[in-house]
C-alpha cells in the first residue's frame, strides 16, 4: 500500500465516484473515503469543489481534483510506477477518451432520464437508445481489446473503468424494466467482459449491488413523487 494523504469524497451508489475508487485500487493507493449523505452536501465538498459542488472530489496532500475522468488521469500520472490505466499509444488514448466522452455526454444522460420519464412510452424508447449505445460499445470492444479480455487489453484500463462503473446501474435498469441490455446474442463480448470486470480485485468491493441500487431507485422515485405532489 502506497502511503500518501488521499481522501475521496463520494457516495456508494455513484458510478463516477466508483471510477476514482477503481483507479486508486489498481494503483494500490490507500485512501480515506468520506461518504456524503444523500440529499445534503458537506462543507468539505462545497469548499473543495466550489465550481460544480459535485462528487467525486479527490483531495491529495490538501489539493482538490474534480471530475471523475480528470481524477482517473491524475491518478494514472501521479502513481506512474503502478499498472498503467491509459493506453500508451496516443491513438489508442484518443479512442478510449472518445468513448468515455460519448458515455458521459450522450449515453448516461439518456440512461438517467429513464427514471424521470413522464410519458407512457418514453421509458421504452429511452431504454432502446441505451441498448443501441451498448451495441456501439460492443463494437468498440473488439477494436480496443485487440483480442484480449478488457478494453485495456490484458489489464483493465481507462475505458473499462469509464464504462464498467455503469454496470451496477445498467443491471438495475434491466431488473426494473425486465429487459436485457447486455446478453449472449446482441453483446457476447460485453457479457464476458462484464463478468471479468465485476470480479476483478480492484472492482468487486466498490461495485454497488444491483439489489441496493434498485432499492435506492425506488426510494428516489417515492421522494420525487412526494415533492411533486406537495
Amino acid at each position: 500500500m502506497a502511503r500518501s494523504d488521499v481522501k475521496l469524497i463520494g457516495a456508494w451508489a455513484s458510478p463516477f465516484v466508483m471510477r476514482a475508487r477503481i483507479a486508486l485500487n489498481i494503483k494500490s493507493v490507500g485512501y480515506e473515503f468520506l461518504e456524503e449523505t444523500l440529499g445534503s452536501k458537506s462543507q468539505l465538498l462545497l469548499e473543495s469543489n466550489p465550481v460544480h459542488k459535485k462528487i467525486p472530489v479527490m483531495i491529495h496532500d490538501g489539493k482538490a481534483i474534480c471530475e471523475s475522468l480528470v481524477i482517473v488521469e491524475y491518478i494514472d500520472e501521479v502513481w506512474s510506477s503502478g499498472p498503467t490505466i491509459l493506453p500508451s499509444d496516443p491513438y489508442d488514448r484518443a479512442l478510449a477518451r472518445f468513448w468515455a466522452a460519448y458515455l458521459d455526454e450522450k449515453w448516461f444522460p439518456t440512461m438517467r432520464s429513464i427514471a424521470t420519464a413522464k410519458e407512457e412510452e418514453a421509458p421504452k424508447a429511452l431504454i432502446e437508445q441505451v441498448g443501441e449505445g451498448v451495441m456501439m460499445l460492443e463494437d468498440a470492444f473488439s477494436r480496443c481489446s485487440k483480442g484480449k479480455g478488457f478494453f485495456g487489453g490484458d489489464q483493465i484500463g481507462y475505458l473499462d473503468i469509464a464504462f464498467g462503473s455503469f454496470l451496477g446501474r445498467l443491471r438495475a435498469i434491466e431488473k426494473m424494466n425486465g429487459v436485457k441490455l447486455i446478453d449472449e446474442t446482441k453483446t457476447p463480448s460485453l457479457l464476458k467482459w462484464a463478468t471479468s470486470f465485476s470480479s476483478h480485485p480492484a472492482v468487486k468491493d466498490v461495485l454497488p449491488e444491483t439489489e441496493k441500487l434498485v432499492e435506492l431507485a425506488k426510494v428516489l422515485a417515492k421522494f420525487r413523487a412526494a415533492s411533486s405532489n406537495s
Binding site: V51, I65, V70, E73, Y74, V78, Y91, A94, R97, A101
Partner: protein, 219 residues
C-alpha cells in the same frame, strides 16, 4: 508518430474547429483543411465520425480522431517535441483538464442559449454566461495566459469563443467587456499572437453567419 498525412474536417465558424486549427498552428504541423457543409455532410465525414457525425475530425494517416479537446490532447502527445500544450506537473494538468471541461460545459451551451432563446431564458443565460467568464477570470489571475507564460490547453479551449462574443453581445444586447474587462484584455492579448489571429474567425463574419442561422431556424 509525428509527420504523416494530416487532414482536418472542419466548418469555418466552429469554435471547436478553431481549437484544432490553433493547436496545429502552435505545433507547426502542416495539414490539409477541408471545409464541410453541415447541411450536406460529406461521405468522408460520415465515415470518419459515424457516432456523432460532427466536425472537427482530425484524420492522421487515415485514422480519425474526434472531439475537439481529445484531438488537441492527441496533437500534444504526437507532436510532443514542440510547444507543449499541457503542463508537465500532474496536478497542473488536472487543473487544465478541469477548466477546459468547464469551458465545454458552460461557455458553449450558455452562449448558444443567448442567441437561440428569448425573454427569461435568454436573460438567465446571459447572467450565467457572465458568471462563468468571471470564474475563468479568477482562474487566470495575474498570468498572461492560462498556460502561464505561453498559450496552453485552456487557452486553446477558450479563446476561439471570442470570435462569437460580438454575436452574443449584439443579439443578447449586453456588453461582455463591461462585466469582464480582464477576460477581454486577455483575449486581445492572445490575438496578438499570429497563430491565434489566424485560427480565429472575424467576429463580424461570425455574427453575419449567426443571423443567417437564426433566419434558417426561425429564431
Amino acid at each position: 508518430m509525428a509527420g504523416g498525412q494530416v487532414t482536418l474536417l472542419d466548418f469555418w465558424p466552429s469554435p471547436f474547429g478553431m481549437r484544432v486549427r490553433l493547436a496545429l498552428a502552435e505545433k507547426g504541423v502542416k495539414y490539409e483543411y477541408r471545409e464541410e457543409d453541415l447541411w450536406n455532410k460529406s461521405a468522408l465525414l460520415l465515415q470518419m465520425n459515424p457516432v456523432n457525425k460532427q466536425i472537427p475530425v482530425l484524420v492522421h494517416d487515415g485514422k480519425p480522431v474526434c472531439e475537439s479537446l481529445i484531438i488537441v490532447q492527441y496533437i500534444d502527445e504526437v507532436w510532443k517535441d514542440s510547444a507543449p500544450l499541457l503542463p508537465s506537473d500532474p496536478y497542473q494538468r488536472a487543473q487544465a483538464r478541469f477548466w477546459a471541461d468547464f469551458v465545454d460545459k458552460k461557455i458553449y451551451d450558455l452562449g448558444r442559449k443567448i442567441w437561440t432563446k428569448k425573454g427569461e431564458e435568454q436573460e438567465t443565460a446571459k447572467k450565467d454566461f457572465i458568471d462563468s467568464l468571471k470564474l475563468m477570470e479568477g482562474e487566470l489571475g495575474d498570468k498572461p495566459y492560462f498556460g502561464g507564460e505561453t498559450i496552453g490547453y485552456v487557452d486553446i479551449a477558450l479563446v476561439p469563443f471570442y470570435s462569437w462574443f460580438y454575436a452574443y453581445e449584439t443579439i443578447g444586447n449586453f456588453n461582455i467587456e463591461a462585466e469582464c474587462p480582464k477576460l477581454i484584455a486577455y483575449c486581445k492579448r492572445c490575438l496578438q499572437k499570429e497563430t491565434v489571429s489566424k485560427a480565429l474567425e472575424d467576429p463580424q463574419k461570425v455574427y453575419d453567419f449567426v443571423l443567417i442561422l437564426m433566419k434558417k431556424f426561425g429564431i
